[in-house]
């Protein structure tokens, strides 16, 4: 592309050199913030069950559910060479989709100068997709449909969310508090902290981080927690009713709950520590796996 345009010599004496020096800060469609220390607040009318996406490099993203059929954003940037764009589909009328993205206009802008902080209020039923490379993400009180949150190093905290939650971080810690619906949480080196879930299905995996699960296992729920070398602590009430499949290869398995041993596999996993059994009537299914970490099951 560049070579073709370079071949063309523009022979005009009236070329508008002012293209590059316009001072007007008239906001063109999609440009929200482009000035240093600037903070912008906007509200968009939303259709039912809108889809809201945010793509950011650094900075905090906070999303809260509210009872208005609007998407409300407050965002601020550190550097004039950082731009926040928005895209609304359709452009007129209540939005089905609203997309916010941060663009670093100057490759020399680095580190915390790339920061853009977002605070969003979204309607109930919103489909959410958030990507924040090194920034933290917090979601509060949202009855959504689907929520996907991905970071590289940023921490993710989700509380009081209802719906299908998918959170993934390479190195950030993940905390999910009082979620209902379905939860999938993945990290490689980050810790996972799961508190009082009311989910029908929960998958949580970390490689070298820790897993801390505090809460009950609702009837009929399917819970699967897995880590490689970190420790896993399960703290549940005496009333928790679950069927347990727990195994670790080189780690230890420590259990304080009165488990009725169901059976041992016909061919035992070689050097694994394992425990297969039922607590009370076994209404939920709980699978705990570790390779070299310790699994501890404790009563609250």
């Amino acid at each position: 592309m560049a070579d073709r345009h370079q071949q063309k010599t523009i022979k005009t004496t009236a070329f508008p050199y002012g293209v590059g020096i316009f001072l007007c800060s008239l906001a063109l469609p999609g440009l929200l913030v482009a000035a240093e220390g600037n903070r912008v607040e906007k509200t968009f009318e939303a259709a039912p069950n809108p889809r809201v996406t945010v793509s950011n490099a650094r900075g905090q993203i906070l999303v809260r559910g509210w009872d208005k059929q609007q998407v409300h954003i407050v965002c601020s940037v550190m550097s004039p060479r950082v731009e926040v764009d928005s895209e609304v589909i359709p452009p007129g009328g209540p939005a089905d989709k609203v997309h916010f993205s941060t663009h670093i206009l100057d490759p020399l802008v680095s580190g915390k100068d790339q920061t853009a902080d977002y605070s969003l209020d979204v309607p109930m039923g919103t489909d959410l997709e958030i990507r924040d490379t090194q920034g933290s993400v917090k979601i509060e009180k949202l009855q959504g449909d689907d929520a996907t949150v991905e970071t590289v190093g940023g921490a993710i905290v989700v509380s009081d969310f209802t719906g299908h939650l998918f959170v993934r971080s390479i190195g950030g810690n993940i905390e999910v508090i009082r979620a209902a619906g379905r939860v999938e949480a993945y990290s490689i080196t980050g810790d996972l902290h799961l508190v009082s879930p009311a989910t029908s299905k929960l998958r949580a995996t970390t490689t070298s981080g820790r897993i801390l699960f505090e809460g009950d296992f609702p009837d009929g729920g399917d819970y699967s927690l897995s880590e490689y070398s970190g420790d896993m602590d399960i703290i549940c009430p005496p009333s928790a009713s679950f069927e347990l499949n727990a195994k670790t290869d080189r780690g230890k398995l420590e259990n304080e709950m009165p488990i009725t041993i169901r059976h041992q596999p016909a061919t035992p996993l070689s050097s694994a520590n394992s425990l297969f059994g039922t607590h009370l009537t076994g209404k939920a299914t709980v699978s705990l796996k570790s390779f070299s970490g310790t699994i501890r099951i404790r009563q609250r």
Binding site: P16, V152, I170, E184, R203, L269, S270, F291
Partner: protein
């Protein structure tokens, strides 16, 4: 029409006819003269120039890694590559590989199927950990896993590692550190699982975690290659 607007004149009509040629670089004295007289046509001209400049400066976009994976798979199936042949070559005949999603799903299913049905002496495997470990795995990873020729994710991961090494210099230091830590953690788990399997080839948990570690490593590397950091 708004009262403040000028009425178009025949000169404006002529201006519009000649504007495109003028913008192409042709000498058009009439256009130049009219620009000096008509503020409205001047605005139009400036706007169109700005548009053209912006269009020429639109950045190039990057396709997903799935594109090459699918191209490579299809060419391999057609025997375009001189050296590539193997036991899995019959699979490339399947029409599935024209589309990334079926490729991804098929690759995942095939890899797991082969792994599960391999002759080993242990009870029914619970592969949920493996599936969880590959949860949200991008289609590119799965199709590249398949492109490696079957269950072995190792070649796929190696390819991704090379691509990552070529790219890592452009990542921000803290982002790079996060990736390196996670890759290091996964490498430890791969090493330990392999050690375990050397001593106990039938260790199902080690098999499970080894597969999961490779899947996760491919996923992490793919993520690093897809990251754009807002630029």
């Amino acid at each position: 029409m708004d009262e403040i607007r000028r009425h178009r004149t025949a000169e404006c009509d002529r201006f519009e006819l000649e504007l495109e040629a003028y913008m192409e670089g042709e000498v058009r004295p009439f256009v130049l003269a009219h620009l000096g007289e008509c503020v409205f046509c001047k605005v139009v001209s400036e706007d169109l120039m700005a548009l053209r400049t912006a269009a020429a400066e639109l950045p190039l976009e990057e396709p997903s890694p799935a594109v090459w994976a699918n191209v490579r798979a299809q060419l391999s199936a057609e025997g375009a590559f001189a050296e590539k042949e193997g036991a899995w070559s019959w699979l490339w005949q399947l029409d599935l590989f024209r589309r990334p999603v079926p490729v991804a799903a098929f690759a995942c299913m095939l890899a797991l199927g082969c792994w599960m049905t391999a002759p080993r002496n242990y009870p029914q495997l619970d592969t949920s950990a493996s599936l969880d470990a590959s949860g949200g795995q991008p289609a590119a990873v799965r199709s590249m896993a398949f492109a490696s020729g079957g269950t072995g994710l190792e070649p796929v991961v190696r390819e991704l590692e090379e691509a990552f090494k070529a790219r890592e210099g452009s990542l921000a230091p803290d982002v790079k550190a996060t990736y390196e830590n996670s890759l290091s953690s996964l490498d430890v788990s791969i090493r330990e699982c392999n050690d375990s399997l050397q001593r106990e080839p039938d260790n199902s948990l080690a098999h499970e975690y080894l597969f999961a570690a490779y899947s996760q490593k491919a996923e992490v590397l793919s993520s690093a290659l897809e990251i754009d950091e807002g630029r």
